[in-house]
Symmetry: C3
Subunit: 157 residues, 3 copies
């Protein structure tokens, strides 16, 4: 079995503290061996690191970086829930909602910021189904909101 | 076990009749012990009670009220499917799509109209993962479309 | 048991080759007896057959046709994964994201292009929960992005 915690270390990636929800909802719910995560935005220490729409306030490259920062938050949520990323048996589906300027149609390339890192960390288990969508607006003017469904190992909790 | 039907009564909340789908699809599909609901809008007796975009045609407060009305429709769908809300073991995930005026970024506060009521009714079992998203447009010019995944008790049906 | 492959033949419907993902993600992930598909667009032989926003670049009727073409791509993905559409036990949920011109609110009618065909092919097993949503923008300027959750027979692989 791959050690994903070790893999993170090899990649020089440090997870942030798990972000706190903005309201009464919770970051993740487990049902059976699936985790459904709440929508996650590119905040760092409680402050949005990126803001606005991709294709207007942010370049494609910045959007992709925002997707990566958001993914790290999502992984922090999974780790906080399960104790270790090694609880993951499969990344099932990732949806990347990209706040998009009129006419911006590279949501797929933005989402690659999250998808590529998932496969770097989890290898085959990180190969996921994906949605890339262009939102009109996102909460707090975030450029990215990421949703995720993850399968965890049957021997987990 | 909490009696959610009784809890509704205590809160003075009456469920509407379950809304009918606009086309050939159906309001809810069960797979295993999960219910996947169709997108639900704030209609009452077949007529939209709220219409237009939040931040332009509707205030934040009206949007939040629309989210609450929509949630009651969703609960009516669950009750029609299972016979009683007591079939629910967990609210898994709720997504609130908010038809949003340009620049409106308080989708999270709008969604609270649904989230707060879920926790009032279901307590810990109502604490859900959540997405709040800003849609460009929604069917019938509804301000809210709500999607929901619910876990039901293993002894159901 | 209905033979869905035969039903396709009766309806005179031929599935295209399964579309290839635009990036590192994969077309479908199976977890338990559920398939989660990636977002699918109305491409044929790797080229988008429809482009732009419904209500501006495309009529309602063209949007509905685009939804149908997209659905055939989704079925091709399922067939490529399972070997046959007869692996399907239930279409669980379909979401149709419609790139929408300002003020266009007939997403539900557009989505019918996919929903009606699902029920024609799968009968009762094709009756699904549905979301119809209006996106601000979609990848590659596609007018439709379709997501799908499918339950497959327990004796499958």
């Amino acid at each position: 079995m791959m050690d994903y915690e070790n893999r993170l270390h090899e990649l020089g990636v440090a997870l942030p503290p798990a972000p706190k929800p903005a309201a009464i909802y919770i970051p993740v719910v487990r049902t059976g061996n699936l985790l459904f995560l709440s929508g996650i935005i590119p905040s760092v220490d409680g402050t949005l690191r990126f803001s606005g729409k991709v294709g207007r306030n942010l370049t494609l490259e910045e959007g992709r970086e925002a997707a990566k920062v958001t993914l790290l938050n999502a992984l922090a949520v999974i780790k906080a829930e399960c104790g270790s990323l090694n609880a993951v048996s499969r990344i099932v589906r990732v949806a990347v909602h990209v706040a998009s300027a009129e006419g911006f149609s590279e949501q797929s390339k933005v989402a690659d910021g999250a998808s590529n890192l998932l496969v770097e960390i989890f290898g085959e288990a990180g190969r996921h189904a994906r949605l890339a969508l262009g939102a009109a607006e996102l909460p707090f003017s975030a450029p990215i909101e990421l949703e995720m469904i993850v399968e965890i190992r049957a021997d987990q909790g």
